[in-house]
Amino acid sequence: MGIKILQDECVGCTLCVGACPFDAIDMIDSKAVMNDNCTNCGACVDACNFGAIIKEESQMKQMDITQYKDVWVFAEQRDGQLMDVAAELLGEGRRLAEEVGCELSAVLLGEDVRDLTDELFAYGADKVYISEGEHLKQYTTDGYTKVLSKMVEEYKPEIVLFGATHIGRDLAPRVAARVDTGLTADCTKLEIDPEEKGLMQTRPAFGGNIMATIICPKHRPQMATVRPGVMERAEKSGKREDQELIEFKNDVTEEDIRIKILDVVKAGKASVNIVDSEVIVSGGRGLEKPEGFELLQTLADKLGGVVGASRAAVESEWIDHDHQVGQTGKTVRPELYIACGISGSVQHRAGMAESGQIVAVNNDPEAPIFSVADYGIVGDLNDVIPKMIKAYREKV
């Protein structure tokens, strides 16, 4: 089981030591030896030029995976409003369904949410499965897990996608466990293996320092959560004749739900929507003081954009968490991202590297943000930004 180093084949070249992300290989008497840090990730297998490291096949019990077909998207709604991520998942789900050669379905749970089905059809769902009831009005782990697990067991989808929201990330692990399958969290890229037709799920790990491609070869459905803002949303189109609404009767009772939601409190102030903005002017520790964001706001207003922030700026309490871009904030892909005084940790880059054009302004020429920037300006942002505002006013 797991990774094995064939001592007779090992030439002691240490290539694997450098390739291992987990410091799990020691050189002992000029031979590579695995220590307890090994996570069986397989990076060393690819790195070894001598065939001395092998991945042994697992002894896992196998389920009959051939009965499972179609791509399902969990169409999350709150208060009768479809979440944006549902449209993104339908866009991505359509692409996957075409590659696999199967249908795309949306699954909708709630109370009196039937009017959302037209929207799901418009986003291209071939089928919409709907299950309604008073005990599904609000999301609860118990209620939604019960219904969704039963639907999965009855209809046997091959792939199930969830938005990596606070609800998706609460529900998906519970459903995956109940139907005894694998789940990959916070995927940023999904592909279909051209030969095996399995789902290849790529996600950041280690705080975004490494990417891992995860597969679920022997269990179905293959389940994944996907970060909001990462996938391209489906285009709306007219209703087709062959689209089908399927009603799923549920038997969720009050007793099934073992917690009680006493109240739902919405955050008081209107939060900024950085995810949907085409221009983001972002600030970091280099602003040196909270007032720096006023300057960035002026530029953002001129450009018709919004203000973003690094974690450092948010943790300094210079700006609200709603503005945060990165691994622990939001993933954004605007047309234009202007990073001001942001060093560009890997966690920050993970949240903005897919932006159309990236401009970085920083007084440190070695700042890692320049490695992802299309245009870099080394300089004091208190000098550069006002000049940008002025130049913009004159030229545009």
């Binding site: 992300p21 466990a177 280690f206 995860i214 006493l262 221009v279 234009l336």
Partner: protein, 262 residues
């Protein structure tokens, strides 16, 4: 009251850097820490014990032998005992196999009122192990707990949403996953540190100690597998604009205009 806190030792991912030439992780000097969300979980359990001194807290972790360090830290902060689940047979576990192993160990402990877990660990960020332990044990859960109250046997929490929070009431046994914003954790106390090292309060359980089939743990119990891991592609560095500030800004505005971005 009996509380079990599941914690994890993680590399401090904020300290990890990428070698700009080789594109590999620089691991040297990266400290191992108690995962921040888990520390909040432990702190909240300790606050229950502050109020109700007869509370018994077990900290539990699965990991290599050196993961004992976070259990020692937990006991030094005030937990009563630590249990380390450590065996090569557990390695290579995904979240499901990890949850199976932890749930089995929790069943072996027996009675409990609350299980606290951190929402997610900074090395994996999956947020799956807590809910999957809950599922395996068949108990309810509340994730993303940002406030916790215990009043007359009733558990009341605030569960963070993207744009607010829910006020939720539950009853034990229950599993709660906590976010680090829940509280400010205390430091280990001197008597706590002395107790952690002097008394025999850390147990090690191996595969033999758990009544669990080998097909439920480690790599064989993991539906998901890592096919490949790699460092993120570095986008080729762009153009550094030269000249005086006015010249740099001028050429930037011109370039962005040419691309119809402004």
């Amino acid at each position: 009251m009996k509380i079990i806190v599941c914690i994890k030792q993680v590399p401090d991912t904020n300290e990890v850097k990428i070698d700009p030439v080789k594109g590999t992780l620089i691991r040297e000097g990266v400290p191992s820490i108690l995962n921040p969300d888990d520390k909040a979980a432990l702190e909240e359990a300790l606050r229950v014990k502050d109020q109700h001194p007869d509370t018994h807290i077990t900290v539990m972790t699965m990991g290599p032998p050196q993961a004992e360090e976070v259990l020692i830290e937990g006991v030094a902060m005030g937990a009563d005992e630590g249990i380390l689940l450590s065996d090569r047979a557990f390695s290579g576990a995904d979240t499901w196999a990890t949850s199976n192993t932890l749930a089995k160990a929790i069943e072996k402990i027996g009675r409990y009122d609350i299980i606290f877990c951190g929402r997610q660990a900074i090395d994996g960020d999956t947020a799956q192990v807590g809910p999957q332990i809950g599922e395996r044990l068949g108990i309810p859960q509340v994730s993303y707990v940002e406030k916790f109250y215990l009043e007359e046997g009733k558990i009341r929490v605030h569960r963070a949403l993207e744009d607010g929070y829910e006020v939720i009431e539950g009853q034990s046994p229950i599993l709660l996953t906590t976010i680090k914003e829940l509280n400010e954790a205390r430091y280990p106390s001197i008597p706590g540190i002395m107790r952690a090292y002097r008394e025999d309060c850390i147990k090690v359980w191996t595969y033999e100690d758990l009544d669990i089939p080998s097909t439920d743990i480690g790599l064989d119990g993991s539906p998901t597998q890592v096919k490949r891991s790699f460092t993120p592609e570095q986008k080729g560095a762009g153009e550094m604009l030269e000249g005086t500030t006015d010249e740099k800004v001028g050429s930037l505005v011109q370039k962005l205009q040419e691309k119809n971005l402004i």
